[in-house]
């Protein structure tokens, strides 16, 4: 028996033959791009956060990113080896666990930039909401999947209840961006799970009303949205980001040649896409955005052949969250959306968020494992026939 041969029936062998290798390859490419991008953004971030007694080396953030990649990859691969059953169990237990952590943030949390989002655990800081996100998506999928066989359980209402609790906790921090993401992904999942069109419209109205309330009653949300809509006030951050794209042009200034990046706020996290824009150009930016889309489309198209409602909903939810977060970040960088404080998955530098993303992607890889020779979708069959 050759290792990873067709007849390899070990855990690793089965993993190798059932994993979505195209998806895995694209994710690894993304992580590679992320390393290059963080290397480009690192000097700018180091300059920005150096001062007084803190002197950061130019590649300080790059080195940390390497560390987080080395920590995150095993998490992703490890989680991807779970069976669907174990993935579900992990999600259910994790959701409940991190829900408690999220509720504890106001008590144990640390404040940063006017919001309380972090919990410090053994010298380690993490955002419970980051980990809760993928787990809650799988958890929601588990609840909603029951609708396919048994209508007696009020699955939709129940999962909505969980969403409301999470949204309330998030808005207390306050973290509008995450709230929108949670709600959006939930809505997508509910829609996929067959929610009626009327209910969908109602939910959308509710979401808009919720945003309106946030706009009216949460001051920083008010100011951010005002700035985005009117273009007035302090648009320094977003103007600097746009300067990056303008100065980069189609082909970029070249690695390490960027100048605008030094005036960017958070060049290594929220605005890393702008750094890519300046140093590698618009074409590279399009490549990155296209890679995100390719991952989303790859997963969604593969799901057309999926028969298990739980796997279907969970995978669709996870990849929607992944894609939506990427698109929101990119559109904020391009000034198509008001600024949100959301990172670019696998590209932005980030400790706990990178681990959470690795876990989410691990779950997705675990759920999409299957025999690549079985086809379920009539659509695909028809396309092949045509």
């Amino acid at each position: 028996m050759t290792p990873l041969g067709r007849n390899d029936r070990t855990l690793l062998g089965r993993w190798f033959w059932t994993i979505d290798r195209v998806l895995l390859l694209m994710v690894l490419m993304l992580i590679g791009i992320g390393l290059v991008a963080v290397a480009a953004a690192s000097p700018a971030a180091s300059h920005r956060y150096s001062g007084g007694s803190v002197q950061l080396g130019d590649l300080h953030y790059f080195k940390r990113q390497v560390f987080w990649v080395l920590a995150g990859l095993p998490v992703m691969l490890g989680v991807s080896m779970l069976t669907v059953t174990w993935a579900r169990r992990l999600a259910i237990a994790g959701t409940l666990g991190f829900l408690v952590a999220l509720a504890a943030v106001p008590v144990l949390g640390a404040e940063a930039n006017g919001a309380m989002r972090w919990i410090s655990l053994g010298g380690f800081q993490f955002q419970p909401s980051e980990f809760l996100k993928p787990l809650f998506i799988v958890f929601t999928a588990w609840l909603l999947a029951t609708r396919y066989d048994d209508h007696s359980i009020p699955a939709l209402q129940l999962s909505f209840g969980f969403l409301v609790v999470i949204a309330a906790l998030l808005m207390k921090q306050p973290d509008l961006g995450q709230t929108v993401l949670f709600a959006g992904v939930w809505l997508a999942q509910a829609f996929l799970a067959g929610m009626g069109i009327g209910t969908l419209v109602g939910a959308l109205c509710l979401a808009i009303a919720g945003l309106g309330m946030a706009y009216l009653f949460v001051p920083h949300v008010t100011s951010r949205i005002d700035r985005f809509l009117t273009g007035g006030g302090d648009t320094y951050q977003i103007d600097r980001a746009l300067d990056c794209f303008k100065s980069g042009g189609l082909f970029g200034a070249g690695p390490g040649e960027g100048q605008m990046k030094f005036s960017l706020p958070e060049p290594h996290t929220d605005y890393i896409f702008s750094v890519i824009g300046e140093e590698f150009g618009a074409i590279a930016c399009f490549g990155v955005a296209a890679l995100f889309l390719a991952i989303v489309v790859r997963v969604l198209l593969q799901l057309l052949e999926e028969d298990d409602p739980f796997v279907f909903l969970a995978s669709a939810g996870l990849v929607t969250q992944f894609g939506a977060q990427a698109m929101i970040n990119i559109m904020v960088n391009l000034s198509l959306l008001p600024s949100k404080g959301m990172t670019l998955p696998f590209i932005s530098h980030g400790g706990s968020s990178f681990l959470a993303l690795s876990m989410g992607m691990g779950l997705l890889l675990a759920l999409t494992r299957r025999n690549r020779f079985l086809k379920a979708s009539p659509y695909v069959q028809r396309w092949r026939a045509a």
């Binding site: 002197q55 997508a188 969604l300 409602p309 279907f312 698109m327 198509l336």
Partner: protein, 568 residues
């Protein structure tokens, strides 16, 4: 098989769950399309930002911007550079980034930079702050030496710097800028907006000044100032037809590149800000006024000129007393105060004041500069005595530029024009003038002024062939409202060529001392008149005035009315 039929079949076969899954798959495709649409939006926006908005390619735009100076250059009437802005070096230190040994580094810096000491360099290198200037306004060669040290903690930076390449040349016209690059004096101050405006700064400001003439004037004045140990000097060359200032200088010299180091005395512009009793140089105005008013009808009109003329409590005296009746021509030739005072008395205070007003002598001088002094005049006490003293240039204090514009009006046919520091031409039309004297008076004055130089007190101002005419003026200096003993302001106001007047040359020396070679005299004829002679000899060819010993104004107007000197 049609999709509908296929679906019907599936419902029957797979039941409820398959139906739901089918709908889910449909909806999934909507999601895919949504994401694709989002990517299209992102792609369009990327193109918009990088191609359309960035299309004024940053590099190219910067190149053009780099060619437009942050402040307009100033050039003379022939385009010679008088002031420009360039990127100077400034040397700064980040003390914490210093790699090398600080003592050694300080030694090398002190050796590389003139005016830098080891102690000062070391103190800067050891400064606890993050950033510190070591020296600003550093020459490229010195900056290069610093760069060669190769210390990463030393930064070479560029900052715009105003440079006056000719050092002190025309410094009082040009003025200087302050530390922020804003005009603080002279043209820099008067034309601040013009020089710094975005749409104008690409075009140099063209002055009326001719550097060659400016240089000749400055040089001759400086030589005389040193020779006679004067405390200051001033000089002007003015085009009588246009009012353009071709040269205007004030000494002691000021280097505008380092104006802060100049003394108060050096920064003071004597030509437009300083007001002086200019004495006898005023007399031609009085004669011309009297001719226009009709009280003097001929150069041969006679006045009683005793050795002293008592007027009220005062006695007016002459340096060359006649003690007899003499003609207007003789009065001017020997610069008689007594004679001129009587001409002024005949003219009357009211008419005198009106003439002075028309010539702008009662208000700050007309020029674009901001440094313009208030003139002094008898004001409300313009009685008979005041009229008489003003007639020979006392009791009225004006700037040397007033005098120059007055002479221009007197000899250009009688039209007064404001002086201008800008070249008159396409962009700068000739200022409208006003008639002060009749053309006939202006014409007659030519011979009279030429007479002063050929036969009178201004003989040393003559420049062979250039038909110089003019008038000396020696006035006791007023300090704190009193006449200062043994201190004089000497002036010579000259015009050439006198047969067709083109240029006024005014030179002034402040407190010249008597010398052995001037036989102990300190009068204008001995010290400042030669300056005018030398200046005209130098600038005549530059201005295209052809020296011609044969040409003279119509001297028949005056020669019959003077007593031929007894030849020794």
């Amino acid at each position: 098989m049609s999709p509908l039929a296929l679906r019907q079949q599936r419902i029957q076969v797979a039941g409820q769950r398959q139906l739901a899954l089918g709908r889910s798959r449909q909806r999934l495709m909507i999601g895919v399309l949504l994401f694709v649409a989002l990517l299209a939006v992102v792609a369009l926006r990327l193109l918009d930002l990088s191609m359309l908005q960035g299309a004024k390619p940053a590099g190219q735009r910067d190149l053009f911007a780099a060619l437009v100076p942050p402040r307009a250059d100033i050039v003379d009437r022939h385009g010679a550079e008088l002031a420009r802005t360039f990127d100077a070096y400034s040397i700064a230190v980040r003390p914490r980034d210093i790699v090398g040994d600080k003592r050694e580094l300080a030694e090398r810096i002190a050796a590389a930079l003139p005016g830098m000491t080891y102690e000062k360099a070391l103190a800067t290198l050891n400064h606890p702050g993050k950033y510190r200037y070591l020296q600003r306004r550093v020459l490229p060669t010195d900056a290069k030496r610093i760069n060669a040290i190769g210390e990463p903690g030393i930064l070479l930076e560029r900052e715009p710097e105003r440079l006056y390449p000719n050092l002190g040349l025309a410094s009082h016209i040009l003025g200087y800028t302050d530390i922020d690059g804003k005009g603080a004096a002279g043209v820099e101050r008067a034309f601040e907006e013009r020089l710094s405006r975005d749409d104008m700064r690409g075009k140099p400001l063209v002055l009326s000044v001719d550097s060659r003439i400016q240089q000749a004037m400055e040089h001759e004045l400086a030589v005389a100032m040193e020779k006679f140990s004067a405390v200051g000097a001033a000089g002007i060359v003015l085009d009588v037809r246009t009012g353009e200032v071709l040269a205007m200088t004030s000494l002691p010299e000021l280097n505008p590149n380092d104006a802060g180091k100049g003394s108060v005395e050096a920064r003071f512009n004597r030509t437009t800000l300083g007001v002086y009793e200019l004495g006898s140089t005023f007399k031609p105005f009085t004669v011309a006024m009297a001719m226009d008013a009709g009280t003097v009808r001929s150069m041969g009109q006679m006045y009683e000129c005793p050795r002293g003329l008592r007027v009220g409590r005062f006695t007016i005296t002459d340096t060359h007393p006649f003690g007899r009746r003499c003609s207007v021509a003789e009065i001017m030739q020997e610069s008689s105060n007594i004679g001129t005072a009587q001409i002024a008395r005949e003219l009357g205070g009211a008419r005198q004041k009106a003439f002075l007003e028309k010539m702008g002598f009662l208000e700050p001088v007309s020029i674009e500069l901001k440094e313009r002094g208030r003139t002094l005049s008898p004001g409300a006490n313009w009685g008979e005595i005041a009229t008489m003293t003003v007639g020979y240039g006392h009791g009225i204090a004006v700037t040397p530029l007033h005098l120059a514009t007055g002479y221009a009006a007197l000899f250009n046919g009688g039209v007064w024009r404001p002086a201008t520091i800008l070249k008159v031409g396409k962009d700068q039309p000739l200022a409208p003038g006003r008639r002060v004297f009749t053309e006939q008076t202006s014409y007659k004055m030519r011979a009279l002024m030429r007479l002063v130089v050929t036969e009178g007190t201004g003989r040393k101002a003559d420049a062979p062939g250039y038909r110089v005419g003019g008038k000396t003026g020696t006035a006791e200096k007023v300090v704190n409202g009193r006449y200062k003993r043994n201190a004089v302001i000497n002036t010579f106001a000259g015009v050439f060529p006198m047969d067709d007047p083109r240029y006024v040359v005014v030179a002034m020396l402040d407190e010249p001392q008597p010398l052995k070679e001037t036989y102990g005299f300190r009068t204008a004829g001995w010290n400042v008149a030669p300056v005018v002679s030398k200046v005209i000899t130098r600038i005549g060819p530059v201005l295209g005035v052809v020296p011609d010993e044969q040409r003279e104004p119509n001297m028949a107007e005056v020669l019959p009315y003077i007593e031929p000197k007894a030849k020794p």
